[in-house]
C-alpha cells in the first residue's frame, strides 16, 4: 500500500517559474518527512502548464536537477537512483500518478515516490485569461506492508462523446515568435455543471460497486475548478458536509495541485484522524473523473 508520509504547499506569488514552485514544495515535503532526498526512487511531475511551453526534457528531470537528487551514477557513494518522468492528465494527474506508483511499490520496484504539481502561465507572469492558480504542491508516498491504511483501488471514468468541456493548447504558428509566452484555454459554459454531475456518477458507482457505505466516508477531497464544487459533490453523494474542504474561494483553481492541497489543508484543520476514510475525487477535461479511497 502507498501511504502519504508528508505533504507541502507553496503559494508564494513572488515565485514565477513552475520549476521554482515545484522545487520549493519538494524541499519542504522531504524536510517534513525527515527523508534524505537520495532515498527518493521515483519523481513524478504532474503539472500540465510549464514554463515556456517546454516539451523536453521531462519537467521532473529539471526538478530532480535543481533538488540535487541522485544527480549521477558515477562516483555516487550513496548507491541511490531516481527515475523521473511527467504525467500529463490535468486535474486528475495526482490519482493517475498514485495508480502508477502503487504497482511499482507492490512489486517492490520502489519504496519512496515524490509527486510534485505546479501549473503556471507559460510566460511565468500573471494572465487574467489563465484560470489556474499559481500553487506548488508535493506529496511523499512510501510503501507500507500494512493493509489497514493507504490507498484503496483507484478508478477512472471518461466520457466518449467528444464533448471535452475544456481544451487547451499553444498554437505555435498563430503565436509567431511568442510561442513560449501564451496558451489558449477554452472552457464551455456548461463545463463545471456537467463535470460535477459526471463526478457524482463516478463516485456513486465507485462506492456502490465496492459496497462502501457513504456513512463511512469522513470527507471528500476533490478538484476545485469552481467555487462550491466540493460542497455540491458532498451533498449529491449524501456525505456529511461538515468537514468538506472547499478551497476555491481562498485559493482559486489549483488544477493539478488541488488534491494534494486539499489533503494538506484537511490535515491542518484536524480533519484527518487515524483510520478515517477519505474519498479523493479528481475531475477535469475529457470529461474525466477519478476516484480513490484513502485510509489515513
Amino acid at each position: 500500500m502507498a501511504r502519504i508520509k508528508s505533504t507541502s504547499i507553496v503559494t508564494d506569488c513572488s515565485i514565477k517559474s513552475c520549476i521554482d514552485l515545484a522545487v520549493r514544495a519538494a524541499d519542504q515535503c522531504m524536510e517534513k518527512a525527515g527523508i534524505d532526498r537520495n532515498e527518493i526512487n521515483m519523481l513524478i511531475s504532474i503539472g500540465n502548464y510549464k514554463d515556456d511551453n517546454m516539451a523536453e526534457p521531462a519537467q521532473a528531470a529539471l526538478i530532480q536537477h535543481r533538488l540535487g537528487m541522485n544527480l549521477d551514477i558515477m562516483n555516487n557513494t550513496n548507491g541511490g537512483s531516481t527515475f523521473s518522468f511527467d504525467i500529463m492528465n490535468g486535474a486528475c494527474g495526482f490519482l493517475y500518478a498514485v495508480r502508477v506508483v502503487e504497482d511499482f511499490m507492490k512489486n517492490g520496484t520502489i519504496t519512496n515516490a515524490l509527486i510534485i504539481s505546479s501549473d503556471v502561465h507559460p510566460s511565468k507572469e500573471y494572465s487574467p485569461a489563465f484560470p489556474y492558480s499559481k500553487i506548488g504542491a508535493a506529496v511523499l508516498l512510501s510503501h507500507s506492508e500494512a493493509n489497514n491504511y493507504g490507498f484503496r483501488e483507484i478508478i477512472f471514468k471518461t466520457s466518449s462523446d467528444g464533448n471535452h468541456g475544456l481544451r487547451s493548447y499553444a498554437d505555435l504558428i498563430a503565436l509567431g515568435n511568442e510561442g513560449r509566452k501564451e496558451v489558449t484555454i477554452q472552457i464551455d459554459d456548461d463545463y463545471h455543471g456537467r463535470l460535477n454531475d459526471f463526478s457524482v456518477v463516478a463516485a456513486r458507482d465507485y462506492l456502490q460497486s465496492r459496497s462502501i457505505p457513504v456513512s463511512e466516508i469522513k470527507t471528500i477531497i476533490s478538484s476545485q475548478p469552481v467555487s462550491g464544487f466540493s460542497v455540491k459533490l458532498s451533498k449529491a453523494l449524501g456525505i456529511d458536509g461538515s468537514q468538506t474542504v472547499d478551497l476555491y474561494d481562498e485559493f482559486g483553481d489549483p488544477h493539478s495541485s488541488a488534491l494534494i492541497l486539499g489533503y494538506h489543508i484537511a490535515g491542518e484543520r484536524g480533519y484527518l484522524r487515524d483510520n478515517d476514510a477519505i474519498l479523493f475525487i479528481g475531475a477535469g477535461a475529457g470529461l474525466t473523473a477519478a476516484c480513490g479511497l484513502y485510509l489515513v
Binding site: 519523481l43 500540465n48 502548464y49 515556456d52 511551453n53 517546454m54 516539451a55 523536453e56 526534457p57 521531462a58 521532473a60 528531470a61 529539471l62 530532480q64 536537477h65 541522485n70 544527480l71 549521477d72 551514477i73 558515477m74 531516481t82 527515475f83 523521473s84 518522468f85 511527467d86 504525467i87 500529463m88 492528465n89 490535468g90 493517475y96 502508477v100 502503487e102 504497482d103 511499482f104 507492490k106 512489486n107 520496484t109 471518461t158 466518449s160 467528444g162 471535452h164 475544456l166 481544451r167 487547451s168 493548447y169 499553444a170 498554437d171 505555435l172 504558428i173 498563430a174 503565436l175 509567431g176 515568435n177 510561442g179 513560449r180 496558451v183 477535469g284 477535461a285 475529457g286 474525466t288
Partner: protein, 347 residues
C-alpha cells in the same frame, strides 16, 4: 508475480521521403557534410494533414491489426510522445491525448495515461505497463507514440548558422508513429525479463525542446557532443549494474541490441565502446536511422517493427533495448521475443 510480454507491435511512417540534399538546399555545405558523415541519408516527412495524434492513432490501428486483441479489450492506453501536436502545430495540453486516442480506437474501458519523458517515452511506458501487469492489476495494455517532429527541422533550417550550431541535431529527425501491446505471459521463453531506468539529472539541461523565440514553431537545442560523451561514459556502468542485479543475464546472451536511433555513426561508436568496455562483441545491432532519421520516442520500436517485418528476428530471440534520452534518462529493457508478426502493411 506475473510477467509481461510483447504481444504485438505496429508502426506508421509517412510516405514522403526527404533526402539530406533536398532538406539542405541553399544551406552551408558543412551542414550537409555533418549529416552525411553521421550516416543519416533521409527521413520521413509528415503530410500537411498529419500531426502527432493522427500519426499515433494510425500506428495504434496498425498494432491492433497485428494483435489478437480488439481495442475494446485494452485495459490501459499510454500516450508517450514528446510532440503533442493536434490540429496543425497546436501544442495540445488538455484533455489528455490518450483520451482522444482511446475514444478514436474504441478502447472504452482502458485507463488512459499521458506521460512525457523525452526520447525515453515509449520505453517509460513499457516500464509502467510492465509493472501494472506484473502486480496483477491489469492483464494487458497498449503504449502509443506519434512523433510529428520535423517541425523542429523547419525551425532549424531558418535559424542554423553552421554545423556547430546547437540546432544541428534538429536536422536529423524524422516523423513516425509506433505502438505495442504488452500482456501477461505464461511462457518463460516469451517475456520481458527486466526493465531498469535511472535519470542522471546532472545533465538535465543538455537538450531542451521549446518553441522558438525567433520564428513560429517548435525548436530543439542540443549540446550533442557533451550528451554523447556523458551518456557513453555512464551507459556501460549502468548496464553492468543492471546485469549484475538480474544475475542470470550475460551480455553474450543477446541476439539483438537496439540502441536509440540517433545516427549510424553514434551507434557504431557506442557498439565499439561496449566492445572495449566489456570485451564483448554486441551481436545483431539494428540500425534504421540512416533511412528514417531519429524518430524520437518511437525509434526503438520503428526499428523493431521493421526488423520483424523483414523476418530478421526469429522466435525466441533475446533483445536488449538501450535508452539514452534527454533528462539524461538511461534505461534498459531485456525481452525474449515470441511470435510477433507484422501484417499491417505499414511502410
Amino acid at each position: 508475480m506475473y510477467k509481461s510480454k510483447f504481444e504485438s507491435i505496429g508502426a506508421y511512417t509517412p510516405e514522403k521521403i526527404v533526402t539530406n540534399e533536398e532538406l539542405l538546399t541553399g544551406k552551408d555545405a558543412s551542414i550537409l557534410l555533418a549529416l552525411d558523415t553521421a550516416g543519416i541519408k533521409k527521413r520521413r516527412w509528415r503530410a500537411q494533414s498529419e500531426d502527432s495524434v493522427k500519426i499515433a492513432i494510425t500506428a495504434a490501428g496498425n498494432c491492433l491489426k497485428n494483435s489478437s486483441y480488439k481495442a475494446s479489450d485494452l485495459e490501459v492506453v499510454i500516450y508517450s510522445s514528446i510532440t503533442r501536436f493536434h490540429g496543425g502545430l497546436k501544442h495540445h495540453l488538455e484533455p489528455a491525448i490518450s483520451l482522444l486516442a482511446k475514444n478514436r480506437l474504441g478502447a472504452h474501458s482502458a485507463i488512459n495515461l499521458d506521460i512525457t519523458n523525452a526520447c525515453a517515452g515509449m520505453l517509460t511506458g513499457a516500464y509502467i505497463l510492465d509493472n501494472m501487469i506484473r502486480s496483477g492489476s491489469v492483464r494487458n495494455g497498449m503504449v502509443i507514440s506519434g512523433e510529428c517532429i520535423t517541425p523542429i527541422s523547419e525551425t532549424a533550417l531558418k535559424e542554423i548558422k553552421d554545423r556547430h550550431d546547437d540546432q544541428l541535431a534538429s536536422l536529423t529527425v524524422g516523423d513516425a508513429g509506433a505502438a505495442f501491446i504488452l500482456d501477461r505471459s505464461d511462457d518463460e521463453n516469451e517475456c520481458i525479463e527486466f526493465i531498469n531506468f535511472t535519470t542522471i539529472a546532472a545533465f538535465a539541461k543538455h537538450c531542451i525542446g521549446v518553441p522558438s523565440n525567433r520564428n513560429p514553431g517548435p525548436a530543439m537545442y542540443t549540446k550533442t557532443k557533451e550528451l554523447y560523451i556523458e551518456s557513453f561514459k555512464r551507459l556501460p556502468v549502468f548496464l553492468k549494474t543492471v546485469l549484475e542485479k538480474n544475475n542470470k543475464s550475460q551480455m553474450d546472451d543477446y541476439d539483438f541490441n537496439i540502441y536509440h536511433q540517433t545516427s549510424p555513426k553514434v551507434i557504431e561508436l557506442f557498439r565499439q565502446h561496449l566492445k572495449y568496455y566489456f570485451n564483448w562483441e554486441p551481436r545483431g545491432v539494428i540500425v534504421n536511422v540512416d533511412e528514417y532519421g531519429n524518430t524520437a520516442s518511437t525509434s526503438h520500436f520503428v526499428a523493431l517493427h521493421n526488423a520483424i517485418k523483414e523476418k530478421k528476428i526469429p522466435r525466441g530471440s533475446r533483445v536488449l533495448f538501450y535508452s539514452a534520452a534527454s533528462g539524461l534518462v538511461l534505461g534498459l529493457l531485456s525481452a525474449k521475443i515470441g511470435s510477433l508478426g507484422v501484417r499491417d502493411g505499414a511502410n
